[in-house]
């Protein structure tokens, strides 16, 4: 494949994205104030919205394939022309959106979709329901991953099988190389997208430069502890209420960690109406809110925030791996740590549960932490 690796000069990038815009809806990270967000690339003004590739995007790319809220069904109630006192239901499903291309996502974001895939594809088994809304977007999306040229102190992709230059889930891997980017095709679709006059074949120097930068970036990651025992450890910790209450004490129960997470895939379904028209919406939901599991009777199996945090961590490091080939439902992007207003650190919870925490900070032995039923 190396032979087909290409190079694009920084100056040609906008032009290439513009070219791709003819075939795809192109998304790329863009800086807005302090935030870096995936926004549609505007081919009309390519220079004005050059991708921000240096800073890690504030949000993950998941909303491009799994929108924050999307209509599942449009429904209309119509009077039955034959029986004026009766109504008929007219149900419609939105048409498939066109293909999209995400440029410049970090490797962890691409790996995030790998966590979605088995769930939304009925675990790949026959007879299991498949989520057509996700699948049709996913199948029509091309991911151009950019390897990380540096890492943040919140990054821990190496704990969960990732790397700053992982190509897993990518169609093309882009790596910084001097005055531009080395573009390595990972999939055949990726290779096809590299067919452009704006790209030149990658030369040896650039290949080397890119590899050197990638190696450098890898070195900036602290060594990963062995958390392979986390699944079992978490199950053993399940009944340890004090442990979980201690870990959750400062949690705000907000949705930042789940909404910024590239792997959190839970959703809610609600109906909205306007007159006789309505729409059934699927929107992101956060397992950290009590409403997530609140039953009509008033009973809530996860009444307190400790129980909810336990489920979130448990899902990522125990339940999900149990179901899906030992893959953690976490890609180590660190967004939940970086953006948590309260300093909740998922790494800490995992190492605490496995008993690997190194830091000198004592683990406060909680006596009686509030937040729900004792």
């Amino acid at each position: 494949m190396e032979a087909s690796s290409k190079f694009i000069a920084r100056t040609a990038l906008a032009g290439w994205l513009g070219e791709l815009s003819a075939r795809f809806r192109v998304w790329a990270p863009r800086r807005e104030g302090r935030a870096v967000l995936y926004r549609p690339f505007d081919p009309q003004a390519p220079e004005d919205n050059l991708p921000e590739l240096d800073k890690k995007p504030t949000e993950s790319a998941k909303h491009i394939i799994f929108p924050r809220s999307e209509p599942l069904i449009n429904f209309r109630r119509k009077r039955d022309p034959e029986h004026p006192g009766q109504f008929l239901l007219d149900l419609r499903v939105p048409e498939a959106p066109g293909p999209s291309l995400i440029f410049g996502l970090p490797p962890c974001d691409a790996r995030g979709f790998m966590v979605f895939d088995p769930v939304y594809n009925g675990s790949g088994t026959d007879g299991q329901a498949r989520d057509i809304y996700y699948l049709r977007r996913r199948a029509a999306a091309l991911l151009i991953v950019r390897s990380c040229s540096r890492t943040l102190s919140t990054c821990f992709c190496n704990w969960v099988g990732g790397a700053p230059d992982s190509a897993e889930g990518a169609d093309i891997l882009a790596s910084e190389a001097e005055d531009g980017f080395l573009l390595e095709p990972v999939s055949s679709e990726g290779a096809a997208a590299l067919d452009s006059g704006l790209l030149v074949p990658a030369d040896e120097n650039r290949l080397k430069a890119a590899q050197a930068a990638r190696d450098e970036a890898k070195k900036t990651l602290k060594p990963a502890p062995d958390i392979s025992g986390a699944g079992k450890a978490l199950l053993e910790r399940f009944e340890d209420a004090a442990f979980w209450k201690g870990e959750a004490a400062h949690c705000l129960s907000c949705g930042i960690c789940t909404f910024l997470c590239p792997t959190c895939y839970c959703f809610n379904v609600t109906d909205e109406t306007a007159g006789a028209n309505g729409v059934r919406l699927r929107s992101w939901d956060a397992c950290m809110t009590p409403l997530f599991t609140l039953e009509a009777s008033g009973h809530n199996p996860r009444q307190d925030k400790a129980a909810r945090l336990k489920n979130r961590i448990g899902h990522k490091f125990s339940y999900y791996p149990e179901l899906h080939e030992a893959r953690f439902a976490c890609v180590g992007c660190g967004r939940c740590i970086k953006s948590c207003p309260s300093g909740v650190d998922i790494r800490r919870i995992v190492t605490d549960s496995v008993g690997l925490t190194q830091s000198p900070k004592p683990k406060a032995a909680p006596r009686n932490i509030p937040g729900g039923k004792e």
Partner: protein, 160 residues
């Protein structure tokens, strides 16, 4: 939920004005205006509430943000509230809320509150006429896009 067809087909003359009136004074005042055949502009649509104290300022926010051009609240004159105190609370809450509008970028003149008693039919006519005129002089209010999926519900046209 979605943008309104604000202007009725073919007329192009009306703006969307919503009134929240207390049942005991102002709704009665509007009735009195009707009985007196005091001609008024037709834009205003009235929501009847027990008391101006029932008016949560968020009804006004909702109405203004979701497609109205003007909102009018009217209750009993201070001290005449059927429920003794409702309008006193309303006055504070509505006044405070009105101060938020410029920060939101909404012209505060799009929202007014006043007091009209059940006997003041003529005053009601005056209030409606002036308020309608005021909103017409401001023109249609700027709109925010709703969520595309909700637009889709309205139009049946697929979101991009």
């Amino acid at each position: 939920m979605s943008d309104v067809t604000r202007e009725p087909a073919g007329t192009g003359r009306e703006l969307r004005l919503v009134g929240f009136l207390c049942n005991w004074c102002s709704y009665g005042g509007a009735d009195t205006a009707g009985v007196g055949r005091f001609i008024q502009p037709t834009d205003l649509r009235i929501v009847r509430l027990p008391c101006s104290g029932r008016v949560n300022p968020l009804f006004i926010a909702k109405t203004l943000l979701y497609g109205a051009d003007g909102v009018l609240v009217s209750g009993c004159h201070p001290r005449d509230c059927h429920y003794a105190e409702g309008n006193f609370y309303a006055r504070r809450r509505l006044e405070v809320f009105r101060h938020l509008l410029p920060t939101l970028g909404i012209d505060p003149r799009r929202f007014e509150y006043t007091w009209v008693s059940a006997s003041e039919g003529q005053r009601w006519q005056q209030v409606v006429s002036k308020f309608t005129e005021q909103i017409h002089s401001l023109g249609p209010a700027p709109r925010l896009p709703g969520a595309p999926e909700l637009e889709w519900m309205q139009s049946g046209v697929n979101p991009a």
